[in-house]
């Protein structure tokens, strides 16, 4: 029986199950195969906040959402078309997000009385009408897997662990994906345990076959290769890895070796982990005793001639405040990555927010200017990171790079740069034999760098106010001069950053400004609305301090300017301060969850209505 293959433009699937059900692997495999098929895609995982919440409970639900498309997309999608629910808790926590009329594939084998009780359910939602309006596809995956693998030597528990590959097989059939890349992956992953690889491969194929054979689905779907992807080599990249790769790249482009001083903290830890695995790239990673030691060792690393880096998140960023001042006054290059999470204090450590902007720009004692840039997507994170390295090294300054929880763990296909095309980063390093004044500046107000080990350049630096020679100076005029020089140097970075280009046509009267990860949802929303006949302009700001030239002229063209932010309006405050003649409006969401394009469209439509 061959089923009709329906062509779809884009699809959103969410895999949801217990933490132990392997949903992240399932999602990851589906993403890889989807990338290979040539779709554009974006993914986002949703972990429980506990390490191992009790099995079967709502707190223990782990999810993975993938959005894939035949055209450019910018977010992991708002409402899933399909929800795969491995147990009642996963179902009940997730079904409300589903599109009207969406499909739910439910593993009925895990809907026993006990399972329902663990999920705090009195009745079975598959039967009690809860899911009216959705298309439910019940499959007893447990049972099927046990049957297929009944001859296996594996324990029952181990056999049941193959559930997720069975599910994956069904989805591969449904969306016409090839099995090969997953089979290859299983072979290499379980190279030393071939019996496990085999069992999973069997389960995968069986799931595929079941979907093919039975009348489970109305039809089969196809999402064509993305027509908008530029030619090139791609890889699927997760935000934190993009930053790690960007750091290594930035250092290399400057001819420097990186030294990362860090302390684990969710959701920034992965960057430390990725860089720890790059030892053959001569990356030094120091897992220090705390965040203060993290940044201080990075400062020491920079002093000694490496590119100092430190990575952290909210509370850790707070701890680095004092040392940031030292980096400012000594004028050493330093990249500080803050993967923001929901605050204040410990807040919601596994949830997204962009509420550290004001702190990044203003949060230090004394006049201590630091450039701030923010990345928008996993792919953009690479570029922003290289840019952060450029500014740090070319201007001898600490630079704060803001990411967030959503970018950190999200993925998208990343078009790999041609290595030779990447522009070099200039260093300003004093040489043996030259007369060296540590705080003598060039026309850009930048001082030269001299690392220990070079004969004749011996000098002292420190946290006290200094004169050109680096000596301590209590001279009032010198302090005023130095304060202005430090400020002007940072403001001078503007000369090296482009004015961002708004998208949208000439006649638009509504400007939406994005910074950081809401970029994707805002871009989706505005593009969709423009396709639907609205006229909205979108402007994305990568450089947040200093602000690029030319913004005033852009802002003046619009009747209304709205800034959606996952905070209480921080960029609005900064822009108001910098462009007081312009009226900026906030649209805020501070729920530890990203904006959806849907929600933005609704709000933008309201605004257009009002205009």
């Amino acid at each position: 029986m061959t089923k009709e293959v329906i062509r779809q433009e884009d699809v959103v699937i969410r895999f949801a199950g217990d933490s132990g059900d392997g949903m992240q692997i399932t999602g990851g495999q589906f993403s890889d195969s989807t990338a290979k098929v040539g779709n554009d895609l974006a993914t986002f995982p949703d972990y429980p906040s506990e390490i191992r919440a009790p099995a079967g409970t709502r707190a223990g639900v782990s999810g993975f959402q993938i959005h894939f498309s035949a055209s450019d997309i910018y977010t992991p999608g708002d409402a899933p078309d399909v929800l795969v629910a491995m147990n009642p808790a996963a179902l009940i926590v997730n079904y409300k997000d589903l599109k009207q009329g969406g499909t739910i594939i439910a593993n009925t084998g895990s809907f026993t009385e006990r399972d329902l009780a663990k999920a705090k359910l009195d009745s079975n939602p598959l039967e009690d009408g809860t899911l009216d309006g959705y298309r439910v596809v019940p499959v007893d995956i447990n049972q099927r897997v046990l049957e297929i693998l009944k001859d296996s030597e594996l324990s029952k528990k181990a056999i049941l662990r193959c559930k997720n590959f069975y599910t994956l097989g069904m989805m591969y059939w449904l969306y016409s994906r090839p099995l090969e890349s997953t089979i290859t992956w299983l072979d290499s992953k379980f190279a030393s345990k071939p019996e496990i690889a085999d069992a999973n491969k069997k389960a995968l194929q069986a799931g595929f076959n079941l979907a093919e054979t039975l009348e489970l689905f109305q039809g089969r779907f196809r999402v064509d290769a993305c027509r908008d992807l530029e030619p090139g080599t791609y890889r699927n990249i997760i935000g934190n890895e993009a930053i790690a790769v960007g750091l290594a790249t930035g250092a290399e482009l400057a001819g420097l070796k990186p030294l990362l001083g860090s302390y684990p903290i969710t959701p920034a830890t992965d960057i430390l982990q990725y860089l720890s695995a790059m030892k053959n790239f001569d990356v030094v990673t120091l897992q220090m005793e705390d965040e203060i030691a993290g940044i201080c060792s990075a400062i020491g690393g920079s002093y000694a001639g490496r590119l100092g880096i430190t990575t952290t998140s909210g509370p850790g960023m707070a701890l680095k405040t004092e040392a940031l001042g030292l980096a400012v006054i000594t004028e050493l290059p330093l990249v500080i990555v803050n993967v923001q999470r929901a605050g204040p204090s410990t807040g919601l450590p596994t949830k997204v927010e962009q509420s550290d902007l004001l702190q990044s720009i203003f949060g230090r004692n004394g006049e201590a200017p630091i450039p701030v840039i923010a990345c928008a997507t996993p792919g953009d994170a690479f570029e922003c990171t290289v840019e952060a390295c450029r500014i740090a090294v070319e201007f001898m300054t600490p630079v704060i790079l803001l990411s967030d929880n959503y970018i950190a763990n999200g993925t998208e296909p990343w078009k790999l740069p041609i290595i030779e095309d990447l522009p070099k980063i200039n260093t300003y390093i004093a040489k043996e034999g030259e007369e060296y004044l540590p705080y003598k500046r060039d026309e850009r107000l930048v001082r030269k760098w001299a690392a220990p080990g070079v004969k004749g350049l011996e000098h002292r630096i420190g946290g006290l106010e200094k004169d050109e020679r680096g000596g301590v100076s209590h001279d009032p005029e010198n302090h005023e001069l130095m304060s202005h020089l430090r400020e002007d140097k940072i403001m001078g970075i503007r000369e090296t950053i482009p004015t961002p280009q708004p998208t949208g046509d000439e006649n638009s009267k509504l400007l939406i400004i994005s910074w950081g990860s809401p970029y994707g949802a805002i871009r989706s929303a505005t593009e969709q609305m423009n396709l639907e006949g609205s006229n909205i302009t979108h402007l994305h700001l990568r450089h947040l301090w200093p602000m690029p030239h030319g913004l005033q002229e852009i802002f003046e063209k619009y009747d209304r300017i709205v800034i959606p932010e996952m905070n209480l309006g921080q960029l609005r405050k900064v822009l108001t301060m910098c462009y007081p003649s312009i009226k900026f409006e906030s649209y805020t969401k501070i729920q530890g969850k990203p904006f959806t394009a849907y929600q933005l469209k609704a709000r933008f439509a309201e605004i257009l209505e009002e205009m």
Partner: protein, 332 residues
Amino acid sequence: MSDLNVLKPKDLKSDQEVRWCPGCGDYAILNSVQKTLAGMGIPKENMVMVSGIGCSSRFPYYMDTYGFHSIHGRANAIATGVKSANPDLSVWIITGDGDGLSIGGNHMIHSLRRNVDLKIILFNNRIYGLTKGQYSPTTPIGTRTKTSPVGSVDRPFNPIQLALGAGASFVARTIDTKPKHMASVLEAAAAHKGSAFVEVLQNCVIFNDGAWDQWTSKANRDENTVELVDGQPMIYGKDKDKGISFDSCHANTVSADEASVWTLEHNSPVPAFVASQLDHMPGLPIPIGVMRANDEPVYDEDVHAQIAQEIEKNGKGTLKDIIYAGDTWVVK
């Protein structure tokens, strides 16, 4: 500095005027460090002095080497970065009882634990000098200071014990007024591979004058200090008639001929700990000299050994390796 790389102490003097109070014990330490470092055969450009904040921490300004006068308590963390960035450097930390043991206590114990190859000189004057006289974590209980007007209630650290407890591989103590002894201890520290923790009993003439006199003044020194010398019996007293013997878990004072021999040849910190307890016991002298010196894995060496090994194993990574990693595909 001579071309032959033979340094004289004056080659290590910077042009900055030394600004400690006249009579401060810090001067003697500066001289001693300049003398010791000049004689070690280390190229001047490889010397780095890192300090925190405090009177003592002004030290790097007075050395014509690379120097970093950083922020309060963080010298050890910064120096860990310096040394890990470039293990060829000879990295010295100058710190005080406030800088290194109060606010900087955590970085201190962790750098000792890791055994980063840093030479740490702790100027212990039992007071916060730069902020004008508050009690520090080494101030004895009951001391009246500006912040303890009726006497401090904090029990002090014994810095030697703290260092030993943290797993320090080299621990020593010396006295600002004993330049020769100080030089010998600093030389031993410089020669040690790994963290070397040196406590210097230092006099702050202004805010805590005579804090160490009961042990170190000319009058008391002979009776109240015992110099530990590797392979020598632990004897002391003006007439060298007294000795220290260790029996099960305790040190006692005995006649000189019964003194135990002090030896550094053991990889247990216990003997050093037993010795460090001496001055907690009424009537026993304070020990000075090298109290522990044991070879242990050195952090910065191992960090770079792993890098070398991974390069050896996987080849030196290129940008291409990192960027074009994992599953890639081509869109045409």
